[in-house]
């Protein structure tokens, strides 16, 4: 599903949560065509990057989530939990840690030893296997995680993923 359609769907679902507190918590699981996205703090600052990345044949979106530039594409499992954090009595910090925990368990199921580091996300050694970027509006979450399953990792060569210059990406297939 295109990133734009998924983004509009998330906005609609979040708005519905504001209007109806009894709406269910949801998890959207999907794949995107090749798309680069960046987070809130880089809005309006990446026009040169956008032109370059679009020339590679990818879409480009600035979003209101946390985090910096990352890639979404075929072979990557993207998850967008649309939750009310109050239902789980979770702080933002604990919610992100819970996502990391779920991804680590998922990697374990494939015999991969994954962990967290001082940088948010899920790592296998020094390589990042799953990126996380969240938006919270009135306790309602949107955006989420992106787990590399058999993603073509060469797409990441054109950016500094999540702003970390000395780190590389990996995938379940790679490991």
């Amino acid at each position: 599903i295109s990133y734009e359609k998924a983004l509009n769907l998330q906005k609609l679902l979040v708005r519905r949560r504001f209007e109806n507190k009894n709406s269910s918590d949801l998890l959207l699981l999907l794949q995107h065509p090749p798309t680069y996205t960046t987070g809130r703090r880089d809005i309006g600052k990446t026009m040169n990057d956008e032109a370059y990345l679009r020339k590679l044949g990818a879409e480009y979106f600035e979003t209101l989530r946390g985090g910096q530039t990352t890639f979404h594409g075929p072979g990557q499992l993207v998850g967008y939990p649309i939750l009310d954090l109050r239902n789980f009595k979770l702080s933002v910090r604990c919610y992100v840690a819970a996502i990391e925990h779920v991804i680590i368990n998922t990697c374990n199921a494939y015999g991969i030893v994954a962990s967290t580091t001082k940088n948010t996300g899920v790592w296998v050694g020094d390589d990042k296997i799953c990126a996380i970027g969240i938006q919270v509006q009135r306790f309602i979450t949107s955006h989420g995680f992106a787990l590399n399953c058999n993603t073509d990792l060469s797409w990441f060569d054109h950016i500094i993923p999540c702003g970390l210059e000395d780190k590389k990406m990996t995938s379940i297939t790679n490991e």
Binding site: R41, R93, V96, G121, Q137
Partner: protein, 172 residues
């Protein structure tokens, strides 16, 4: 003959003596004649400058019709280490409970909402270089922005400090 110079000279000498004496006389009479008015005076001073809280963990400290807005200590603990703060633009007109900036921590951008309606007249530029101020001093030096209130009666819908603390305890 009183010339402007003479008057200016005298006023600079007389007024400093006269005003404190005048103030002491007022206070003395007030307390002597009506001790309860001391408490009234204190109360009215508190109404003039007081901190209120929202259920979404923002605070606003108002003096006359100028409010300083930030997020509470409870909120900063829940967020974790703040790495980026998005302040609203000066001149923006916001509505009560409308978006008023955002705070990013652990790759999560959390929207902040205006406790009251008004115009943003100042933002805390220190947060650009030192976003961690929000963690260190969320309710003092880590203020987010200042707002000129357009409807001070909206403050009545906000919580006093003790009500806010009860609200936080119920959220656990």
């Amino acid at each position: 003959m009183f010339t402007p110079t003479t008057f200016g000279f005298l006023s600079s000498k007389v007024v400093p003596l006269y005003v404190p004496t005048f103030r002491r006389a007022i206070l003395r009479n007030t307390f002597r004649n009506n001790p309860a008015s001391r408490f009234g005076a204190l109360l009215s001073f508190k109404e003039y400058s007081s901190k209120k809280f929202t259920k979404d963990h923002e605070w606003i400290d108002v003096e006359n019709d100028l409010g300083t807005i930030g997020i509470t200590d409870y909120a900063q603990k829940a967020l974790g280490d703040v790495v980026y703060v998005e302040t609203p633009e000066i001149g923006t007109v916001v509505e009560q409970s409308g978006p008023c900036g955002a705070v990013e921590s652990v790759k999560a951008a959390s929207d902040i909402y205006a406790p009251v309606s008004g115009e943003i007249v100042d933002v805390n530029k220190n947060l650009v270089e030192t976003p961690g101020l929000i963690n260190k001093s969320p309710e003092t030096d880590g203020w987010l922005c200042k707002i000129k209130l357009s409807n001070p009666s909206e403050l009545n819908s906000l919580m006093e400090e003790h009500e806010y603390h009860s609200h936080c305890e119920k959220s656990h």
